[in-house]
């Protein structure tokens, strides 16, 4: 059996090195908190028996088991530093052999936690741009070995880097201001950021801290009582008449709307005050913020795609926003790099151009989706609605109103699908991919074809029947999915993009400057 396990793994003929055995101890100690529950369970289970000696035995057994498990992991883990790649083989039963080519290693990080530091060990992480973030970790090796590995990777990459610098694009050296927003622009943006979030926040606070309040916040009767104490009576409200009630409702709405706009403006000023995007030798540099000033640099070559967004109202005044898609996360709320929150199209294309992304040539080359795609989606809604109607006819006394309501739902869905179809455009030119979608949040995604990571043609059962397909592009940090294409179109686009992609290697597009 042992032979069967070890047999195939050595096919590569490379033994590789084991991790440092003392790492076992560190892993064991740092894993102790996880053992708390098993230990408690063991103690609890042993407590009932008459023999008090059982408790330490159980504890020892749990600890020994954990140590044994970690020893097995250690035993089955090997890494090998090869000529072209670093290989890691691991797994007790499920064996995984991972190969990381030197060209793909973006960063080697060496980490020393306190315990490891005492023992002169360190953890080495090889970071690649892999989408799932789970690359390769050697925990633990001696610090010397860690430094040796890092030096090795750097020297292997150095040759590559030299080649890339020659073919890199030239970025101007002086910091040129690409885009800035004055107070007026920030104010306009604030108006578009209408938000009633303040009520949610207040409500949340009230719920969280209601034990601090001297009364029950959610007691409606108390509020009514409070109002009555200050002279307002239900009869008085009833007594003000129709006009009075209307004025009250109107007042309530106006204050709500005012609060909504005020929140939007204040929040926007806090975040966007003094917005300035400049182009430096390192890439885009963005400074903004009223109290907490942020200063974020984004290398231009890291930009994987651009997203131009607008809404039905702001579009009338010509306002759009521009974001860059990359593997980095911009802030907590925003995963894409905000390059311009509120800009005219002219300003915006100028920024995009600096990132190597060109404006589409009008509507030319953009295609509408096959209507059938939306019709199928709508048709899928019909059976459940019909069943609901049938149920109403059979079981309800008054079925007319609910049935009208259900038909109305179908009508609304049809309208939404129609709007979606009308706005939807896809297309490509010699360099870029385009995708426009959404009638409320109108988004145009532009991606250079050479930055595409993978392509997938997908067909569901119904789509397959009608020869429709969707084409999903893997973009680092974002998604781009074309839907409602005839299968042949999808295949043609894929072939065209494949031709562009095959010429350029990943490390060349993402490291060159």
């Amino acid at each position: 059996m042992n032979q069967a396990i070890d047999g195939p793994i050595d096919v590569t003929g490379q033994d590789g090195a084991r991790l440092h055995i003392s790492g076992l101890f560190i892993a064991f100690v740092s894993g102790l908190p996880q053992l708390l529950f098993p230990l408690l369970a063991a103690v609890f289970g042993a407590r009932k028996s008459d023999n008090p000696a059982l408790i330490p035995i159980m504890v020892a057994a749990v600890l020994a088991l954990s140590l044994f498990y970690r020893w097995l992991i250690w035993l089955r883990f090997r890494y090998h530093v090869g000529d072209d790649d670093i290989r890691v083989e691991k797994g007790i039963l499920n064996r995984t052999a991972r190969s990381i080519p030197y060209e793909r290693i973006q960063d080697v990080s060496i980490q020393q936690k306190p315990l490891a530091r005492i023992m002169g060990l360190s953890e080495v992480k090889f970071e690649t741009g892999g989408g799932d973030g789970d690359d390769a970790k050697l925990s633990f090796v001696t610090l010397d070995e860690a430094n040796r590995l890092r030096a090795l990777v750097r020297s292997r990459k150095a040759g590559v880097a030299l080649v890339q610098n020659i073919s890199g694009t030239v970025v101007s050296e002086d910091a040129e201001t690409l885009f800035a927003m004055d107070g007026k622009r920030v104010f306009i943006l604030g108006l578009y950021s209408f938000s009633l979030v303040i009520f949610a926040v207040l409500g949340g606070f009230a719920q969280q801290f209601d034990f601090l309040l001297p009364f029950d916040f959610w007691d409606l009767k108390r509020w009514v009582g409070l109002a009555e104490d200050s002279g307002v009576r239900v009869s008085t409200i009833n007594g003000v008449g129709m006009a009075g009630q209307l004025i009250l409702v109107f007042g309530a709405f106006t204050s709500l709307i005012f609060i909504g706009f005020a929140t939007g403006v204040v929040r926007t000023f806090l975040r966007e005050h003094g917005f300035r995007l400049t182009q430096t030798s390192k890439g885009f540099r963005r400074r903004r913020g009223l109290f907490t000033l942020t200063d974020v640099v984004m290398p231009a070559h890291r930009v994987q795609a651009a997203v131009v967004q607008t809404g039905p109202i702001r579009k009338r005044s010509g306002w759009h926003s521009l974001k860059f898609v990359s593997l980095a996360q911009d802030s907590k709320e925003e995963s894409n790099y905000v390059a311009a929150p509120l800009a005219t199209l002219d300003e915006l294309w100028r920024i995009a151009k600096a990132a190597g992304i060109d404006a589409p040539n009008g509507e030319e080359g953009l295609h509408t989706g096959a209507k059938l795609h939306w019709i199928i989606q709508l048709a899928l809604l019909v059976p459940p609605l019909l069943i609901a109607m049938a149920a109403l006819l059979i079981f309800a006394d008054r079925y007319l109103a609910p049935i009208l309501f259900l038909s109305l739902l179908l009508g609304i869905a049809a309208c939404l699908f129609w709007c979606d179809w009308r706005r939807y455009r896809f297309g490509l030119d010699a360099q870029q991919l385009y995708l426009r979608r959404g009638w409320w949040r109108q988004q145009l995604t532009l991606a250079p074809q050479i930055k595409v990571q993978s392509m997938e043609i997908a067909q569901g059962p119904l789509a397959r029947r009608y020869g429709l397909a969707s084409l999903k592009f893997g973009i680092a940090g974002g998604t781009l999915e074309m839907v409602a294409l005839p299968l042949s179109t999808a295949q043609a686009i894929r072939a065209a993009v494949m031709e562009k992609v095959a010429d350029v290697d990943y490390s060349a597009i993402n490291q060159s400057r």
Binding site: A4, I5, P8, V11, T12, D84, D85, G91, L93, N94, R95, T96, A97, R98, S99, I100, P101, E103, R104, T128, G129, G130, G131, D132, D135, A136, G159, V160, V163, L327, V452, Q453, S454, M455, E456, I457, A458, Q459, G460, P461, R464, K472, F473, G474, I475, A476, G477, G478, T479, E481, R494, M498, V501, A502, V504, D505, Y506, S507, A508
Partner: protein, 157 residues
């Protein structure tokens, strides 16, 4: 049915049917045991739980893997790996060698018994960041890994 797979695709190793059957059979065993337990409780006439369960079990564990096998296929083209899978939900994926971040070759206990392996390539894209190709002969998987690695190396230099 077999004609559905485009002719240029390489099928998986036939042993994939067996390993897939074993894996599904083991994975669904708890349900059969559960049905057996319900049966012994004698809530309903004998066989109400066990018979349909066994039929479904036989179908899912025996017939489905063979169908699944027929709809898998791959192609190592010049410069890209193509993985095709699924009939109802058809997926046809291209991964250019130039975009591969790293490559895994996995072997589970059942795979090892039959000399199979799963090849997984990782890309930087959010969508399809991992593309897995199961049911390859272990030696083939290793050879494919070497070929892709060589391609990456060549393109960079």
């Amino acid at each position: 049915m077999t004609d559905d797979a485009p002719p240029e695709l390489t099928p998986l190793d036939p042993a994939f049917i067996t390993t897939s059957r074993i894996a599904t059979a083991l994975g669904l065993l708890p349900f059969v045991i559960g049905a057996g337990v319900l049966e012994t409780a004698k809530l309903l006439p004998p066989g109400t739980f066990l018979v349909p369960m066994l039929l479904v079990y036989a179908f899912v564990a025996f017939t489905v893997p063979a169908r699944k096998y027929r709809h898998w296929g791959y192609d190592m083209g010049t410069g890209r790996l193509r993985v095709v899978r699924g009939y109802m939900f058809y997926r046809d994926t291209f991964v250019p060698f130039g975009r591969i971040q790293h490559i895994d070759v996995d072997q589970g206990p059942i795979d090892r018994r039959y000399g199979l392996a799963t090849l997984t390539v990782h890309t930087a894209g959010n969508h399809n960041s991992t593309v897995a190709l199961p049911g390859l002969a272990y030696a083939d998987a290793l050879a494919m890994r070497e070929a892709m690695r060589a391609a990456i190396r060549q393109e960079t230099l």
